[in-house]
C-alpha cells in the first residue's frame, strides 16, 4: 500500500479520532479560559501523550493548540479578557464590536478566518516545508534584530491617540524585559536578590494580570450596569462571513502568508504574528481611522495570521528539528520520544507518519468550524451567569493558570502586581497592550543586538552587510522615514500654497 493510503488508515482509526475530538474540546476549554494559554495546553498534554502511539500523540498536540489559539478570541471579544497572548493584539477591537452589538459577527470572523488561515498555513507546510525551512536557516541575529525592530514599530502604528502614553507603555514593557539574568551577559538585573526574579518576569502571569485581573478590579468598582448581550439577537455567527471574505480577500491572504512566514522563523510565533498582522492591516487599510473603534478588518487579518503561524512553526520543526515557537519546542520532544525524529529524513523514512500528521492538521482546522460554533454557543450560556458570580470564578482560574506555568506562588504575586498596574494605567488612558509587546520583544531585541555586536566585533555596519539583514534594515528605515517625509512635504505644500 502506498504511504498516502497508509496515512489515511492511520488517522481514520477510531482511537485516533477519539483522541482528536477529545483534545479539540480540551484545547477549546483551555484557550477560552483567561490565564490558560495554548503553550500551557501543550505542556500539560505532554504527560498524557506519553502513553500514546506516535500519531495520536502528535494529533493531540496539533489539534489542541489550533483550537486554543482560536478560542482565546472568545473571552477577548465578549469580556475584553484575551484567553491567550495571541488574542491580546485585537482584544480591544473585538470588544468594541461586541459593545456595538456585533458580537456574532466578530466571533464568527474570528472562527472562519482562523480556519482559513490555518488551512492556508497547512497547505504551505505540506507543499513548501523543505524550501521554506532553508530560508529560515539563513536568519542569524542580524536578521532577527531588524525583524524585532519592525515588530516594535508596529506598536507605534497601533498606538492610541496619545503617542507619548503609548510609548510610555512600550518602554515600561521593555524595562520589564530587562529583569532577571536571562540576558547575554547572564548578569542578574533588578532582581533584588530574589531567586524568583532571576529568570525574569514570566509573560503569562503578567498578561493575565494586565488584562484579566485589571478587568475584574474594574468590574468590582463599577457602578454602571454591565454590558448585556442581547441574547435573542445573537444570530448565526456564520451570517455575513462570506461577505467579509469578498470584502477583504487581500487581508485574508496577506494575514495567512505573513502568519506562516513569521511562524516559520524560529523564535517568533503566533503572538508576534498577530501583532504584526494587525499593524500591517491598519497600515494598508482604506479606512485606518476606523481601527480601534470596532472594525472587523484587523481581526480578519490577524485572526488568520495567528492560526497560520501555528502551521508555519512546524516547518523548521519538522525539517530541521528546530522549534518555530514554544509549542513546537515541546512537540519536538514528543516527536523524538515517539521515534519520529525530525529532520529531512522524516519525509523519507516512514513517510506515512508525516503524511498522517499533515492529514491531522487539515482535520483539526475543519473540525474547528463545528466545534468552534459549539464553543461560542456554550460561552454565550456562560455569560448568562451573573457577572458577580462569574468574576470570582475567573479570578480562581487566573490564579491557577498563573501558578501552573512555573508551579510558583511568586507568579500569583506577579499577576496581582500587574493587575493593579493595568488597572491604574487603563484609568489614566495609558494603553496596556504595548506593555505586553515590549516585554515579548525586549528580550529578543537585546539578545540579537548584543550577540550581533559581539560577532561583528562592534562594527555597526555589519547590520547591513548580510543580504537579508540589509534588505530588512533598509525596509525598516523606510517605514520610519516615509511618514515623516510625507508629513514634511505636505506641510511644505500647505505653507507654500
Amino acid at each position: 500500500m502506498d504511504p498516502v493510503h497508509t496515512a489515511f488508515a492511520l488517522v481514520f482509526d477510531p482511537y485516533v479520532l477519539v483522541v482528536i475530538l477529545a483534545s479539540a474540546f480540551y484545547g477549546l476549554f483551555i484557550g477560552a479560559i483567561p490565564g490558560l494559554t495554548a503553550t500551557m495546553a501543550t505542556a500539560l498534554l505532554v504527560p498524557v501523550t506519553f502513553f500514546m502511539p506516535p500519531i495520536p500523540a502528535v494529533a493531540a498536540i496539533v489539534t489542541a493548540t489550533a483550537m486554543a489559539i482560536f478560542s482565546g478570541d472568545i473571552p477577548g471579544a465578549l469580556m475584553r479578557i484575551p484567553g491567550t497572548p495571541a488574542s491580546a493584539a485585537y482584544a480591544d477591537e473585538a470588544y468594541a464590536m461586541t459593545k456595538k452589538g456585533q458580537a456574532e459577527l466578530v466571533l464568527g470572523a474570528g472562527l472562519v478566518f482562523s480556519v482559513i488561515g490555518g488551512l492556508i498555513g497547512t497547505t504551505i507546510l505540506v507543499f513548501a516545508a523543505p524550501s521554506l525551512a532553508e530560508v529560515a536557516l539563513k536568519f542569524s541575529s542580524f536578521e532577527y534584530f531588524w525583524l524585532v525592530v519592525l515588530g516594535l514599530t508596529c506598536a507605534i502604528f497601533i498606538a492610541s491617540d496619545n503617542l507619548a502614553k503609548g510609548f510610555a507603555s512600550l518602554t515600561l514593557g521593555l524595562l520589564v524585559a530587562t529583569v532577571g539574568m536571562e540576558n547575554p551577559a547572564a548578569y542578574p538585573r533588578y532582581t533584588f536578590d530574589r531567586p524568583e526574579l532571576a529568570g525574569g518576569i514570566t509573560l503569562i502571569p503578567m498578561l493575565v494580570g494586565l488584562f484579566a485581573v485589571s478587568e475584574i478590579l474594574r468590574f468590582a468598582v463599577s457602578t454602571a450596569p454591565t454590558l448585556k448581550l442581547e441574547q435573542d439577537r445573537f444570530g448565526s455567527i456564520f451570517r455575513g462571513q462570506w461577505k467579509l471574505l469578498k470584502q477583504y480577500p487581500m487581508a485574508t491572504v496577506r494575514g495567512s502568508l505573513l502568519g506562516t512566514a513569521v511562524g516559520a522563523l524560529p523564535g517568533a510565533g503566533a503572538d508576534i504574528a498577530a501583532w504584526i498582522s494587525y499593524a500591517v492591516s491598519k497600515k494598508f487599510s482604506k479606512t485606518p481611522e476606523k481601527f480601534g473603534t470596532g472594525h472587523v478588518e484587523g481581526i480578519v487579518e490577524s485572526g488568520a495570521a495567528n492560526n497560520s503561524a501555528l502551521s508555519g512553526a512546524w516547518i523548521p520543526a519538522l525539517v530541521f528539528g528546530i522549534p518555530g515557537d514554544s509549542i513546537t519546542a515541546i512537540a519536538i520532544g514528543v516527536l523524538y520520544l515517539k521515534n519520529m525524529n525530525p529532520g529531512p529524513t522524516i519525509f523519507m523514512e516512514n513517510p506515512q507518519n508525516i503524511y498522517a500528521v499533515f492529514i491531522v492538521f487539515f482535520i483539526a482546522q475543519l473540525l474547528m468550524l463545528p466545534l468552534g460554533w459549539i464553543a461560542i454557543k456554550t460561552y454565550k450560556q456562560v455569560l448568562k451567569v451573573p457577572r458577580n458570580v462569574l468574576m470570582p470564578l475567573i479570578l480562581l482560574f487566573c490564579t491557577v493558570g498563573a501558578f501552573a506555568i512555573n508551579n510558583s506562588v511568586f507568579d500569583i504575586g506577579v499577576m496581582l502586581a500587574f493587575g493593579v498596574l493595568g488597572w491604574l494605567l487603563e484609568a489614566n488612558r495609558f494603553p496596556v497592550a504595548p506593555v505586553i509587546l515590549g516585554a515579548v520583544l525586549g528580550h529578543m531585541l537585546e539578545e540579537n543586538f548584543i550577540t550581533s555586536m559581539i560577532k561583528a566585533d562592534g562594527n555597526v555596519w555589519s547590520f547591513f552587510e548580510r543580504p537579508i539583514a540589509g534588505t530588512l534594515g533598509v525596509v525598516t528605515l523606510l517605514v520610519w522615514m516615509v511618514p515623516i517625509v510625507l508629513r514634511l512635504s505636505r506641510k511644505g505644500r500647505v505653507a507654500h500654497g
Binding site: A220, L393, V400, N407, L416, L424, I454
Partner: protein, 158 residues
Amino acid sequence: MTVRVNDVVSGVLVGALGIAALTIAQSFPEIPGEPGPALFPRLAGAGLLVVAVALVLGGWGGRNAAPWVEWPEWFSHPRCFAAVVVIVAGLAITALYVETLGFFICAPLLVGALLVALSVRVAVAIPVALIATAVVHAIFYSGLRVALPWGLFERFAW
C-alpha cells in the same frame, strides 16, 4: 475607575521610575568587548525620562482643566471598597500562604469572600466557592497533573 491623575503627575511618576531604573543600572558591570548588561536598562530608563518630559509639558497646558489627583467615587462606596480589598488582599494571602495552608483552604476563601463582597448571598456563595474549588482541583490536579499545593492536607494527598 481608580485613581486618576493629571498628566503632569503621571509624567512625574514615569520619570521617577526612569530615574530609579537608571540609578540601579549604574551598578551593572562592564564587560570588555561587549556592550554590557547596562546598555538596555539605560536605554529603557532614558526612554521613560523622555516620555516623562513629554507628558509633563503636554499636561502643563491643561493643568487647570483636570484636577491634580481625582479620587475615585468608589472610595465612599463601602461595597466597592470591600471588593477591591478582597481581590488585592485575597491574592496576596494566596501568594504568601497557599503553600502552607493548601489549595483547599485558600481557593474557597478567595472565591467565597469575593462572591460575598460582590453582594452574592452567602447561601449561594458558600456552595459556589466549594464546588468551584472541587472542580478546579479535579481538572488541574487530577486531570492535568498541576501540583496544586496540599498544605495542611498533605497527608491526605492523592
